[in-house]
Symmetry: C2
């Protein structure tokens, strides 16, 4: 069994996509993170949903969490202010989580080894430098348990 | 809006659950991780799916990844050997990922602040010390975008 046999479509955003678009994709697909590609479409990182949540938290709450309990502002007030024109690239941490990347003809042990080494719950599958899909850790486990 | 208004059911394993059971739950619900509770049912950590994948990779592949491409062994051969009687607690790293935990009457800014601080894509919601559900980052974003 090779990687491209179990790769699946998966929501992707580019580094120049709006954070709001990323948030909507996370909500629509109920995902804890998205694959991020560069402007040419090459997968380069993962945007964790927790990082989108982080940018909606007022900075004075980060500094004094107790204020969260007493503030009158809602996070909804901040969506447009905070992420209205912000891009995914601006939100990624200085050292963004490394995305596992495998070749379409890698076997499943190779895929597992890369995921395990990076502690990454998904791997982008490339063929001729283009992403043809994603293998999630749960998809990989599914194949292993089924075989 | 308070935490318990948006908390949802979420698959949970105990530290003494079998890894195989955890893997099956990840597959069934297509999840990148599960909430782990102690034997009394108090949420204490998160088991990432990548950690389950890791224990299926032969140790000589961890040491020399190039061997993954040429080995004849499949991961399926290893499932029973490697995780047959292993528990979730045995699999968790020495410093397991910290699970965000919130009170049922915390507001959504408080929930977001805890998730953001821990970089955790989900928060367990407690009422009187018992877990009543989980709020995922995508669920939180859904409420924020909808309001």
């Amino acid at each position: 069994m090779l990687a491209d046999a179990i790769a699946e479509a998966f929501p992707v955003v580019r580094v120049d996509s709006l954070v709001l678009e990323a948030a909507r994709l996370m909500v629509e697909h109920r995902l804890p993170g998205l694959v991020v590609t560069d402007v040419e479409g090459s997968p380069c990182s993962v945007l964790p949903a927790a990082d989108v949540v982080r940018c909606l938290v007022p900075s004075y709450v980060h500094e004094a969490p107790v204020l969260a309990a007493v503030l009158s502002e809602t996070m909804a007030d901040r969506v447009v202010d905070k992420v209205g024109s912000k891009t995914v690239g601006e939100l990624l941490p200085a050292r963004p989580p490394e995305l596992a990347v495998v070749d379409h003809d890698d076997n499943l042990v190779e895929v597992a080894a890369v995921m395990a080494r990076l502690g990454c719950p998904l791997a982008a599958v490339l063929r001729d430098g283009r992403m043809v899909g994603v293998i999630t850790a749960s998809r990989l486990l599914e194949r292993v348990l089924a075989s």
